[in-house]
Amino acid sequence: MKWLNEEDIEHIAIGASVLGTGGGGDPYIGKLMALHAIRKYGPVQVITMDELKEDHWIVPISGMGSPSVLVEKIPSFEMLMAPLLAYEKASGKKIDIVMPIEIGGVNSLIPVAVAAMKGIPILDGDAMGRAFPEAQMVTFHLDGLKPELVTIADEKGNTVTIEPADGHWSEKIARSITISMGGSSIVADYGVTGTQAKKSVIPGTLTLAKKIGEILKQPRNGAVHPIEQMLTLLNGHQLFRGKAVEIKRGIEGGFTRGKAVFEGSEENNLDSCVLSFQNEHLLAEINNKPIAMTPDLIAVLDEETGMPITTEGLRYGARVIIVAFPANERWRTPIGIETAGPRYFKYPYDYTPLEILIKEFVPS
């Protein structure tokens, strides 16, 4: 058992931006929610996967909807609690532990605020190991689990309980309810026992986000560059170093889809790198050849500060280091690739793991 303090929250927010791969909403508002909740209700206990008991009842909690709405119409404490209370009512079971459904972006920290308020621990793990845009893109779905119960609440006192047919329907119905609630909601779904969690949850990701934050935040004393240290920690690779020269954004089906073009610096001269994103970065190509693709993680870091840059914050002239790291093995299975691979996002490639693409890559 460990406790999260205010400094940990700062570090998790940075790590969550990296694991958010450019999307997942700005962790800033989640950071403020978590900080204020800890000041008001006291520190939050973190429970590791090893400490889980078989009959623990664990419920993931997350924000759904538009980050632009979340940063304007900020949740109330009642709104954070409502989905859990509805979940307990509908399932007839008391919730022992909350967990993040995704570790990237704002949803890494909303459950911390909930845990502080409810006075229960948060699980050190999540169901994505990163951020993804759709609700069925979770390890529970890969394991054939259905979100048998989904509760959704807004700040106005509306709480909706649904029993969806499967993960895809859950995503569809929850999203349309979220829109009618005014564009953002708090959702509880995929409640699991300790036994199921041990099978499905990606362990240690909250601690991983914290470690990434600690690495990137440390003073530069020249020994090993923080980005190098981070890549070692994540088994990652530096794909490209250069400058953003073109960013195209458009809206498709409620998602920001676009491309960002980068021009190489001296060390990979004449090369150009294109990132394609749908909220998150999903595909990296160098000289028109894929070098990293979803479900593997692609992150853009500021060359100078090492801090992650979101797809919304990316602008012409930004000097960046583009890095990638392998997704959790769970995503590299046939069903993982079908759920969140390049073809699902309408990119014309079959999934190839990052380490193979790197090995095969021949610079021009």
């Binding site: 800033y28 508002i29 403020l32 929610m33 900080l35 204020h36 909740a37 909807g65 538009s66 980050p67 632009s68 709405v69 940063v71 304007e72 119409k73 900020i74 949740p75 109330s76 404490f77 009642e78 709104m79 954070l80 605020a113 700040e155 106005k156 006192g157 829109i179 005014g182 564009g183 400058k243 020269v245 954004r249 458009g250 809206i251 089906g253 409620g254 998602f255 920001t256 021009e263 909220n279 919304e312 914050g313 602008r315 012409y316 002239g317 930004a318 000097r319």
Partner: protein
């Protein structure tokens, strides 16, 4: 008619007089004084002494000043604040001031009220204003606050509730100034609220500045209409500045950019302003400074109101050059205004960027003891200095094409005749006081920043509506209706909201309608 422009910077106070054709009659540079007004007074005196102008012809006096920035950074002379957030039932998980530096919070002695209200992103009310809550808040604020900041959920989409609450307080506490977030910031409630609170905290400061400036003018028998430089490179009337003091923050670099545009006749270029300690690099887009779209920290507080997109380098004429591990390191420390005694060529002990520029023959200085530089490999160091600037220029460009670069500021002479990425280099006359010229010239602007839903409206229709709103705002602020240009027009999609919501940002500007100063 003559215009007087003054720009108070961290190091120098610059002044300039312009004639009807906007030609420079005379200019001055004096060190900024601790009591800023004595420096301003000196500047005005010097300008009048070195020219034969008739003080009665000076009709417009503009001031670009760092007073407000300093007040926030130094936590001085700030008002006691009443904070109203129109948000319940939302918003309670992040109350106001959560992320503020503690010493600043202590200074504000804030009284905070969260009340019912706010809108959805499409402008439908979440709930109405509750009168009893307003009455309670009035009692909370009475006799304990000097300035009020009001922020409502989605007020950038619809500001009616903010105005309703403001009207109530105007009536109950008539002498307390009110700041509305919808007039200051954009989407992102916390950052907008922060900017609104800072604005409210600066009311005394700006009042004191206006009175001091008026007094300095009256002392020289000048009876001119007062304007303030604001951070989009345009002017605001004194009345407007009293309402929005926060818009004076970071007006120094924008004055330089505007001045550079006027002096060089360039409307699209990179402006490099090299001072004694820093180099500020900004972008001219259609004759105005480009704005940043990212959150900007002011005195340790995260805000999202419009700010110029400026990249600052620790590089100026007084920047120290040191040898570390057999490599030459440039800055960031600077000898600043002590250059004339500390630099090697003036008999000092410190190797500075100015020494290096003199060593390679780029600059000539009177009384320079160039023999002091014989042991210094200036030819090896100088390219490093140039490369710093070239890299920063590249960072600020909007495309891969070469662009015109305008060099201004006291250190412009440090740079060579060509720079990588520059199609040409322009060094206008009077470049040393470009900032004061920019302050004197300023146009009047109007902006509109709103979220529109495209569900049953055409894209071009909402853009047109936003344009008209911005134009109206500029006319209200005193711009000539016949000469208003659109200088910025952008729209961004909002992610995850099906039904196509877009954020539209329009800025227009035009010269002062001169009738208004007769």
């Amino acid at each position: 008619m003559i215009r007087l422009g003054i720009d108070v910077g961290g190091t120098n106070t610059d002044g300039v007089l312009l004639n009807t054709k906007n030609e420079v009659i005379c200019s001055t540079k004096t060190p900024t004084t601790k009591n800023v007004f004595s420096g301003i007074q000196t500047t005005i005196k010097e300008l009048l002494a070195s020219s034969a102008v008739n003080v009665r012809d000076i009709k417009i006096a503009t001031l670009g000043t760092t007073h407000c920035t300093n007040a926030i950074v130094e936590r001085k002379s700030l008002n006691r604040i009443g904070i109203i957030r129109i948000c319940l039932p939302s918003g309670t998980t992040v109350p106001p001031l959560v992320d503020w530096p503690e010493d600043l919070v202590d200074k504000l002695q804030a009284k905070t009220a969260l009340i019912h209200g706010g809108y959805e992103f499409n402008g439908s009310p979440i709930t109405g204003i509750v009168r009893d809550e307003l009455i309670e808040t009035v009692e909370l604020f009475r006799d304990s606050v000097d300035s009020i900041a009001i922020t409502g959920v989605f007020s950038p989409v619809l500001a009616d509730q903010e105005k309703e609450v403001a009207a109530f307080f105007q009536q109950e506490l008539p002498h307390i100034p009110i700041s509305l977030s919808s007039e200051i910031g954009t989407i992102g409630l916390i950052e907008r609220e922060n900017a609104t609170i800072l604005n409210a905290a600066l009311k005394n400061v700006i009042k004191h500045v206006a009175e001091g400036f008026e007094q300095a003018l009256v002392n020289e028998s000048i009876h001119a209409k007062i304007y303030f430089g604001q951070n989009d490179g345009t002017l605001m009337t004194n009345v407007f500045a009293q309402k929005y003091p926060i818009f004076t923050i970071a007006c120094g670099p924008t004055n330089s950019i505007r001045g550079a545009s006027f002096l060089s006749k360039e409307r699209n270029a990179i402006v490099v302003d090299i001072g004694g300690t820093t180099t500020d690099i900004g972008v001219l887009a259609n004759g105005f400074p480009r704005q940043t779209s990212l959150a900007v920290e002011v005195g340790g507080v995260r805000t999202n109101y419009r700010m110029p997109d400026i990249y600052s380098l620790g590089l100026g004429g007084g920047t120290q050059v040191t040898l570390e591990d057999s490599a030459w390191k440039i800055g960031p420390e600077s000898v600043g205004y002590q250059l004339p005694e500390k630099a090697l060529i003036f008999g000092g002990e410190t190797l500075t960027v100015t020494d290096v520029a003199v060593g390679v023959g780029m600059m000539q200085m009177e009384n320079a003891q160039e023999e002091k530089l014989l042991s210094i490999p200036t030819q090896e160091i100088y390219p490093q200095i140039v490369e710093m600037v070239e890299k920063a220029i590249d960072r600020m460009k909007t495309s891969g094409d070469d662009v015109s670069v305008v060099l201004v500021g006291g250190g412009a002479a440090l740079m060579p005749a060509t720079l990588k990425g520059a199609s040409r280099i322009i060094r206008p006359e009077h470049a040393g006081v470009a900032n004061a010229i920019g302050a004197a010239l300023g146009d009047i602007s109007g902006t509109c920043e709103k979220i529109y839903l495209l569900e049953n409206r055409a894209h071009h229709e909402v853009i047109e509506e936003a344009k008209q709103e911005a134009i109206q705002a500029a006319i209200t602020a005193g711009a000539d209706p016949d000469q208003i240009d659109i200088i910025q027009l952008e729209d961004f999609p909002l992610a995850y909201i099906p039904g196509e919501a877009i954020l539209v940002r329009v800025k227009v500007a035009g010269p002062l309608l001169l009738e208004s100063v007769k």
